[in-house]
Amino acid sequence: MADTVIEARGLTKIYGNHRAVDAIDFSIRRGEIFGLLGPNGAGKTTTILMMLGLTETSGGSVDVLGFDPVRQPLEVKRRVGYLPDAVGFYDHLTARENLRYTARLLGLPRREAETRIAEAMESVKLADVLDRRVATFSRGMRQRLGIAEIVMKKAEVAILDEPTSGLDPHSTFELLEMIRGLKRAGVAVLLSSHLLDRVQSVCDRVALFSKGRIALMGTVVELANQVLGAGHPILVEAAGGDIAGILRGIEGVRSVVPEGEGAWRVVADRDVRAAVAHRIVTVGGALTRLADLQPSLEEVYTRYFEGARRAA
């Protein structure tokens, strides 16, 4: 298991009577983007702080690059880059001065620090504002400066807490591109978010958090198969005749679920769109929409918790 960078076993955090993180297990491999997803207050940030040794664990263990954050926090923090939720910088200093302070805390020699700062700022497209005070930076620029700090640190693991929250779509797109850049550089990225659809595109694997536990873990497709059932979902909107009956009659269709007025969600073994179109048109129905449904995390999440609630 040489390529495992983070391994948590039974990790637990208790505040008073509240189990903020309840015996979770997961592992992250080198060069992958792992998403911790879940609503606010599900225990994502607490998990991250425990990995960095910034808060004590109540039970279980976590291993980061072969070090124990409880006993060897300095070794962990030297190798792990952290971008906190709504990261802050010293407003009265320039971007360069802010990064220089971090470089000094890391103990980098002066000359090397300067070249690393220039390269890092180049990589996040902030080279032109290097000597501007951070007070003038937008939210998106601050987040990028946070990424630059991780790049400058040459971190082996990057932990990003809600990196895209509060960003406009364009900034989000740019930031996600930079996160992919980290992955290309061989960095293991762990990111947390409550915005499922935004991060699903970058994550190789995800863990869905709920009330301090990991409810589901795996690739997005795996989760979709697990929760929504394996198969090929499509959405059909049509009018005229017994559409549901027709849809059920098509070979390979496993389930037909109404999705509002004149719309059905069809799950089949294979892509049955051509057959659906043919049959509806043949019986004289009006086909208004026929869409291939990509499994979305949002849906996985909602369905899973609906199911869980029903079971309870």
């Binding site: 505040y15 960095l52 910034l54 300095l74 792990v80 971008l83 939720d85 990261v87 302070y101 890391l106």
Partner: protein
């Protein structure tokens, strides 16, 4: 308190890793800040008046005291009614509070705390670095002020200070820095305890006012409360005096003024009531040698330094237990 890591678990690496960069950054921040400028102006404005009046008096009236330079600090000019050291006694806490009241909670509010603590340093280094930077800033300002007073004395009195006067003056500087350190530690404690900078400033200033305005009254009220109906012996009286002085000495300002009295008024032989036994063989008004004065005020100096360390330790303990998340 929930649960804690077992005691056997010890963290590795020096707690002082990274203290240098923290110190340098904080020092640069302090020295370049507008707040520092305001505080310096404040101290100069407060100090200039007593010093100027003292110098005026010393130039016109022939003072029998041979410690002319020290008189600049301690003389109470008629027009002002407050000596330079008394003004400092009042202003030093304000300056130290100004330097420390937002040192930790502002990092928290700017959301820089978790980012800085995710670098390879312990919280120890952050807090101690900030404290030492504040103390250094304060010392720089105070030394500058001290040099200005001595310079003004040289120019206007036209006589150089004697070696023992310089030594006593330097001793005063050390005491003043320790006094500032106590208040810096107090204000940093509040900055760790309270998330809001306004609350922390208010509490520190409140404590300052309490010690200056309320505590003397309160202390004497306590003493008269416990005093027996009639004082029968000298021992009774001495015990009561001891209690009164012990209570007053809980205020750092009292320790400071006593230490300064011993240092800058060499004729001071005792800080409490004087017993006839102590008077035997003494020439009234004759100055004590420097080492004897130092011996006299040694408890006050150690008291100030101990107070500084105790309060800082309290801030340290609270900071270690604080959650860094917003």
């Amino acid at each position: 308190m929930g649960s804690r890591a077992p005691l056997a678990v010890r963290r590795q690496g020096s707690p002082f890793t990274g203290i240098g960069p923290v110190f340098m950054k904080e020092l640069a921040d302090h020295l370049s800040s507008v707040r520092m400028l305001v505080l310096t102006l404040f101290v100069i404005a407060f100090g200039a008046f007593p010093v100027a009046s003292s110098l005026q008096t010393l130039r016109t009236v022939v003072d029998p005291n041979s410690f002319l330079f020290l008189r600049i600090f301690t003389l109470e000019p008629e027009q002002v009614g407050i000596s330079f050291v008394a003004a400092l006694n009042f202003v030093i806490p304000l300056m130290a509070i100004g330097l420390g009241f937002d040192s930790v909670n502002s990092e928290f509010n700017r959301r820089t705390l978790s980012r800085v603590l995710s670098q390879p340093i312990y919280r120890d280094a952050l807090l101690l670095g900030k404290f030492l930077a504040g103390l250094a800033t304060f010392a720089v300002a105070l030394v500058a002020l001290w040099l200005m007073v001595f310079g003004a004395g040289l120019l206007l009195l036209g006589v150089p200070p004697r070696g023992v006067e310089v030594a006593r003056g330097l001793g005063f500087l050390v005491v003043a820095i320790a006094y500032g350190g106590v208040w810096l530690a107090i204000s940093m404690l509040f900055s760790v305890v309270f998330r809001s900078t306004a609350t922390s400033a208010l509490c520190a200033l409140g404590l300052w006012l309490f010690f200056f305005l309320l505590w003397p009254q309160l202390a004497s009220a306590i003493v008269s409360g416990v005093a027996p109906g009639e004082i029968r012996s000298l021992e009774d009286y001495a015990a009561l005096q001891d209690l009164a002085m012990g209570l007053m000495r809980l205020s750092p300002g009292t320790l400071f003024s006593e230490a300064v009295l011993g240092l800058l008024s060499p004729e001071t032989r005792t800080l409490g009531p004087m017993l006839p036994a102590q008077m035997r063989g003494a020439i009234m008004g004759a100055p004590l040698p420097f080492d004897q004065s130092l011996l006299l005020i040694w408890p006050q100096i150690t008291g100030l330094i101990a107070g500084m360390i105790v309060v800082f330790a309290a801030a340290y303990v609270v900071f270690q237990r604080e959650e860094v998340r917003a």
